[in-house]
Amino acid sequence: MAVSETTTPPSYGRIRWRRFGAVMVPATAAAAVLIALTARGAVAASFSVSGQQFTVTASRLTGTGFEQFGSSYKEPSGKAQPVAVSVIRNATLSNLCQSVKVLGMTLRITAGGGSTPVTASNLVVGATDLSGNATFQNISVGQDAGSLSQVPGETGQAGTFGQQASSVSISGVHQVAWSTTAGTFRLPGFHLQVGGAPC
């Protein structure tokens, strides 16, 4: 573009690519350090996705502080998408697999495959479908979702149906989720694959 310009006013700027590299190199190094630390599970990441359907699977999920209630997620189109919200205060997940579609590509994230599981705090998952074999301790089913107390600060809408337990263990977890939020997510063995098969 702009091939016709032969005399240029002095105020025109330009990009000097060596200086570009001077920033890119340390920035890339810093990014590599962050990624490596995250992949080792040494640094937690924060995770918050909604607006598209995605799949979460894990061979085993254990957690302390469990709540579950119904809610609805409002799609950008304005349509309400009802979801069952599961809240876990401290969760560990073995063989976690998450697949999300971003810009038409399937992103597949796996972690916690080895001896070190994924850990997450304040995990909030809004799912339309959730399955597994579950065991709960100190369970309470059918109480008002607004009165749930296992995860401080997390309650459902008052008057609706809620369920909570002091601890939960689910094997063979499979969720079709519309939103996931985790305050801190530690992902040892973090692996991001672009264009892979969904979980």
């Binding site: 573009m1 330009r14 990009i15 990014a31 995770f47 909604s50 997620y73 070190t116 809408q157 305050g183």
Partner: protein
């Protein structure tokens, strides 16, 4: 018009700012866009909110590069640091893509300069228009090749030395005002430092919160392969505009620390409610686990078979509701309940149906059941018990008998069930909504 835009574009680090803005928009597009009013996100949301703030600031930096280009060095460095900070605060920097756009954009903006303002031979600057194609490898090589001979020509005496001293020196020469070069070198050096500073509190804080940190540090899983998305030369067009205030704040309520939760009495353990209160028709409110509030939506639990061990009917309890006053419910205490024959919990609320199915549902240890209606086949007869039915009186009188037995009921339907237990097992647990 086009000419005016080109003029405007070339007098500021336009492409760098554009990439930064696009990066911020991409990151926001991967995260929370809108949540219904009932969807409350607490502590997790606050942490995610930090990521949203960082991302919005990143977008603002991109815009400032356009509208306040005089400070481009500062904004570009801040952009790079913020882009790096998004990785651990918001969806791995929008699944790498947004972070990369931010870093590349920040670096490009940093590398932008008022070319012809150099102290010597402004006419010799190569034609700036060709640099506007930010992605082209042609440009990447072009200026570099021209830079060296020009500087050598300008100061022939120390050409070799300057070549050895490398680009740092050249940075200094780029700004006759004398302030630019060294400062920028320092600024560049500050990037990894800032990264460390960002990381340090994260490391520290996380260790305090999650006990598992120690183990994960102790056993770092080796051999992790990372496939990083290649930096796209063409910027994608994510849907939302990164208007600096739109997305996050709506869904983040106050942090609401745990201390505010009523009495710190989680896990309505049934123990406190069972003994003593041998219901005399009306069970006192105090007999109920603290804080138990019945839901107000229609819910039904059905099962083919229910095995009830050591069942005792305690009478009618007034269970409070969040609105509409307390509801009269039958209260049963048991040692255990095992439901088989496709136990199914169906809940109608907000115009949708949530169904929970299992193949086996068991409750053990200090089981307390509340219901407004219980029906099923018992000893060959179909019975329906409600708090007001005469049958409930019979069941209560049979209490000493039922307490010593395991009762089996079939075709069980329980309205408005509330169940408390020390342990519960749900085999082939499956929730589906909608």
């Amino acid at each position: 018009m086009l000419i005016a835009f080109r003029e405007w574009r070339r007098t500021r680090p336009f492409w760098g700012g554009l990439l930064i803005v696009l990066g911020a928009a991409e990151i926001l597009s991967t995260t929370v866009l809108s949540l219904g009013p009932a969807f409350r996100v607490g502590l997790g949301g606050v942490n995610a909110f930090v990521g949203v703030i960082i991302t919005v600031l990143l977008g603002v930096c991109g815009l400032l590069l356009w509208f306040s280009p005089g400070q481009w060095v500062f904004y570009s460095i801040v952009s790079v640091v913020l882009a790096l900070a998004t990785f651990n605060t918001i969806n791995y920097g929008g699944f790498f893509l947004g972070m990369l756009l931010g870093i590349v954009g920040g670096a490009m903006a940093f590398a932008w300069s008022h070319g012809p303002v150099r102290d010597e031979q402004p006419g010799r600057r190569n034609e700036p228009g060709s640099q506007d194609d930010h992605g082209g490898p042609r440009d990447e090589d072009g200026p570099r090749d021209e830079d060296a001979p020009r500087d050598l020509a300008a100061r022939p005496g120390s050409a070799r030395a300057r070549l050895l001293r490398g680009w740092f020196w050249r940075q200094g020469q780029a700004h006759p005002a004398g302030t630019g070069g060294r400062d920028q070198v320092l600024t560049i050096a500050a990037i990894p430092l800032t990264g460390l500073l960002l990381l340090a509190p994260a490391l520290h804080g996380q260790r305090a919160t999650a006990q598992q940190a120690a183990s994960s540090l102790a056993h770092p899983s080796g051999g992790c392969i990372l496939v990083i998305l290649c930096p796209p030369t063409k910027s994608p067009t994510p849907s939302p505009t990164p208007s600096s205030s739109s997305p996050g704040p709506s869904h983040t309520p106050s942090p609401s620390p745990g201390t505010s939760s009523p009495g710190g009495s989680p896990s309505p353990s049934a123990t406190q409610s069972v003994p003593g209160q041998k219901g005399n028709g009306k069970v006192k409110r105090t007999a109920m686990p603290q804080g138990l509030v019945a839901s107000g939506v229609p819910a039904v639990l059905t099962a083919g078979t229910a095995r009830l061990t050591a069942l005792a009917y305690d009478g009618v309890a007034k269970v409070p509701r969040s609105s509409g006053g307390p509801v009269a419910m039958m209260k049963f205490t048991l040692r255990s309940v095992t439901l088989t024959g496709s136990p199914t919990l169906t809940i109608h609320q907000n115009g949708t149906v949530a169904t929970t199915t299992t193949s086996l549902l068991s409750l053990r240890g200090n089981v307390v059941l509340y219901a407004t209606k219980l029906s099923g086949d018992l000893l060959g007869a179909h019975v329906t018990i409600t708090p007001s039915s005469p049958l409930s009186l019979v069941v209560r009188l049979l209490r000493p008998l039922t307490q010593g037995l395991t009762t089996t009921m079939t075709h069980v339907v329980t309205d408005q069930p509330i169940a408390l237990a020390a342990t519960s097992q749900w085999d082939d647990y499956h929730i589906s909504v909608g």
